[in-house]
Symmetry: C2
Subunit: 397 residues, 2 copies
C-alpha cells in the first residue's frame, strides 16, 4: 500500500536517535544534570546577534513581496553575487553569482549534487569514518556508495585503499572536512594528493571524476587551514551550510558552488537546477537568503567549541583513551576500550555517558563524542570517563 522502502527509511530509528531518546528518559528519572549526552551534533552556540538583527531589519524595512516572494530556483541574483564576492575575498577564487546555487542547507546541497551527476550504474566513494546519511542519499538517487577504509592514525585519506577502489564507474568522491565524526581537517597535502590521483584517473578513464566537498563545518577549525578545494581541483562542487557557522540548522540555508572550471559548467548547473526541481526544493527560504547575504563574511564564534574540544580531549587522554587531536567540527572520535564499540557504548551508559558507536560511521572499534554541549557537562563527565576506563583495567578487556 505504501513504498516499503520509504516506510523503512522513515521508521527505522538511527542509533543516534535511540541513544538520544534513552538520554531523555534517563534525564526524567535522574535529572538533566546527571546525564552526559554526547550523542547529538546540534550546534549549542547561540545564533549570533548580528543574524537576529539582520532578520529583524529586513522584516521591518523591506517590501514584503521582496522578502517573502518566490525567488528564481538558484536563488536571489543579488544574494548570489554577494555570496560569490565573499567567497572570492576569503579564498582568492573568481566566482560570480552564476556559480552559486542557493539550497535548503547542506543535506539538500549534497543530494541535489548527487542527483544532478548520477547516471545509471554510477558509484560514489567516500572515506570512513563518514556521515551515515551519505549512504541513504546516494542510494536514493539510484547510485552506489563505496567506503574507503579509515586511516586511524590521523584520519587523513588512506590513498592505497582509495586508488584500488577508484574504478571507471566512480562518478564522484565525497569528502567532508572538517570531518564528522573524526574532527580531522584534510591537509593541503591530502587535498593535493587526492587531486593528483583524480586527475590521473580522469584522464585514464576518459571522463571527469568529481569531488563533492561537503563543508558544513568549514568555519569550525582550530588554528589549522581548511584548504579551499576548488583551488586544488577543477571538477569540484562545494556544498556549504549556515547550520553550524551561524547556528541556523532549523532554517535550512546553504549553497552549492559550481565553478566555471568544472568539465561542463552549463550541463552541470542545468542538472543541478533539474535535481533541485524534482526534489521539490522550489527555492531556498527567501528571508534567510537575504539574511545570509547581509551577514556574509562575518565571523562565527567558535570559542566555546574550541574550549570544549581541548577540555574533553585532555580529559580523555588523561583517563587513558587514545584519540587523534581535534582540528575542527565539534566531534572527538577516540578508540573504544574494547574491540566491540557497541558493547563499549553500552558499558558507558552505566555512567550515563551517552556515546555513539563508531560502526555507525563505518569505523568499528571507535566512538563519537559530540562536544557541542555545556562546558560544565563535559567537566562533570571527566571523572566518569576515568571510572569507565578503570573498569576496563579491572576486567582486563
Amino acid at each position: 500500500m505504501v513504498s516499503e522502502k520509504m516506510y523503512e527509511l522513515g521508521t527505522k530509528k538511527s542509533t543516534i536517535r535511540t541513544i538520544f531518546e534513552f538520554g531523555r528518559k534517563r534525564a526524567a528519572e535522574v535529572g538533566e544534570e546527571n546525564i552526559f549526552d554526547f550523542s547529538l551534533g546540534n550546534p549549542n552556540v547561540p545564533t549570533p546577534e548580528f543574524v537576529k538583527n539582520a532578520a529583524i531589519d529586513i522584516l521591518q524595512n523591506s517590501e514584503p513581496s521582496a522578502v517573502h516572494g518566490y525567488t528564481v530556483a538558484p536563488g536571489n541574483p543579488q544574494v548570489r553575487e554577494i555570496l560569490a564576492k565573499s567567497i572570492n575575498e576569503r579564498f582568492g577564487t573568481k566566482f560570480a553569482g552564476k556559480n552559486i546555487f542557493i539550497t535548503a542547507g547542506a543535506a539538500a546541497a549534497i543530494t541535489i549534487s548527487f542527483k544532478a551527476l548520477a547516471e545509471n550504474g554510477d558509484e560514489f566513494i567516500t572515506f570512513a569514518p563518514y556521515f551515515p546519511e551519505y549512504k541513504v542519499f546516494v542510494e536514493s538517487v539510484g547510485a552506489k556508495l563505496n567506503v574507503v577504509p579509515a586511516q586511524p592514525q590521523d584520519w587523513q585519506i588512506n590513498f592505497d585503499a582509495f586508488e584500488k577502489m577508484l574504478t571507471p564507474k566512480v562518478k564522484a568522491v565525497i569528502i567532508n572536512s572538517p570531518n564528522n565524526p573524526s574532527g580531522a581537517v584534510y591537509s593541503v597535502d591530502t587535498i593535493k594528493t587526492l587531486a593528483q590521483i583524480l586527475n590521473k584517473k580522469s584522464e585514464e578513464f576518459g571522463h571527469a571524476i568529481f569531488i563533492i566537498s561537503d563543508e558544513p563545518y568549514r568555519e569550525i577549525a582550530y588554528g589549522v587551514e581548511v584548504p579551499y578545494v576548488p583551488n586544488f581541483y577543477d571538477n569540484t562542487l562545494v556544498c556549504y551550510s549556515y547550520s553550524k557557522s551561524f547556528s541556523l540548522p532549523g532554517e535550512r540555508i546553504g549553497y552549492i558552488v559550481v565553478p566555471d572550471a568544472v568539465a561542463d559548467f552549463g550541463k552541470i548547473f542545468g542538472a543541478v537546477a533539474g535535481a533541485a526541481r524534482v526534489l521539490t526544493h522550489v527555492n531556498a527560504p527567501s528571508l534567510w537568503q537575504l539574511v545570509v547575504a547581509k551577514c556574509a563574511g562575518k565571523p562565527s564564534d567558535i570559542s566555546i567549541y574550541e574550549r570544549n574540544a581541548k577540555l574533553l580531549y585532555n580529559g580523555l587522554i588523561d583517563a587513558g583513551f587514545e584519540c587523534v587531536k581535534p582540528q575542527g567540527a565539534f566531534y572527538l572520535f577516540p578508540k573504544a576500550l574494547e574491540a566491540d564499540d557497541y558493547a563499549f557504548c553500552e558499558r558507558a551508559k552505566k555512567y550515563d555517558l551517552l556515546l555513539v558507536p563508531g560502526a555507525d560511521f563505518g569505523c568499528k572499534g571507535y566512538f563519537r563524542a559530540a562536544y557541542c554541549i555545556k562546558t560544565e557537562t563535559i567537566e562533570k563527565s571527566l571523572p566518569l570517563f576515568k571510572k569507565l576506563a578503570a573498569e576496563y583495567r579491572v576486567i582486563g578487556l
Copy 2:
C-alpha cells in the same frame, strides 16, 4: 557526465517562464505600464502585518536555539498541535498533532505524498486542466500520471471518463480545488460522487485508492464552500501551503494531514517521513513553523483577488469571451478565440496581453489569465481584449 534527465528538467524553459521573460523584455522596451502580464501565479497581496509582527516578536523574544534549532522531521510538536486544533475548529475534524507533517510548502507536501505511496508500476490520476508540475513530480517518483479529460462547462469532474480510467493500477487521485488553472471549486456533490466511486472501486480492487488533495488556494474562494475532503473520504491526504493564504511563497511552509482514518496510519505516516528524508526536507524552516502557529486561523485578505476576478471576468464576457464564472484561486480559464490556443496567445501578444495557452495545463483551446496583478493593469487591459476579439471577428477564425 551528468544525468541527462536532470539537465533537461533544469534547462527546458516552461511556456510560462518564456512568456514571463518576453514580458520583461517588452517592459524594458515600451514601459512597465504598457505590458499586461497575466502569466504568473505569484500572490500580489502583501504578506499580512500580523505575519510580519509574529516573526519579529519571535525573533526578539524567544530563545534563539528554540527558534533556529533543528525540529524533529514532522515539525515542532507544539506547532503541530496548534495547527491540528485550528483545522478542527474550522472543519469539525478530530486531528491531533500526530496527524500533521509540516513541510516546505505544497510542492514538497505533494511530492512527499507521491513518494510515500508509490510502488512499482503505480499510476496516479488527475483531471484536466491541471498544474503541469504534477507530471514532473509523479514521474520523479517512478510512477505514471494519467489525465482525465476536462469538463469545460463547469470544470467539475468528468466522471464517465474518470471511471473508465480507474484501473487497479491507480494508487491515488490528485485533486486541486480551488483549481489552478480553472478557478473552479469542487462542489460537495462532486466530492461526494468522487468518494462514492473510489469507495466502490477500492472494494472491487481490494486495495485503498487515495485522494491527494492539493489545497494551496483553499483560503481564496469567493463565497462558495470548499468542502474539506477528509470529511467525505477516509483515505485522503491533505497538502496545504501558506504560500497563497499568507503570501509567503518564498519561505516554503505548509503541511500534510494524514488522518487516523486512512487505511494504515502508521504505515503511511512512516512512509511520509521516509520520503521527506530522501527528498532532503530535513525539517520545514523552523522560524516559519512558529510564525504560522502564531497566526493559525487568522483570515487571509482575498478582497483584491475577488475584485480582480469580477473585473476581469466581466470585462472578458463583455468583450465576447466564453468563461466559467470564477469561484476561487486567482485564475480565469476562458475559451480561446481559435482552436489553436498557442496561436491565440501569440496573437494576444501583439496587444502586449501575455496569456498562457491551455494546452500547457492539458486542455487545448483555452487560456489561463492569472489576475493576481494590479487592478489598474486589468482595467487598462480590457479595451485591448476587446480589440483582440474584434480582430477575430474580422479574420473570421
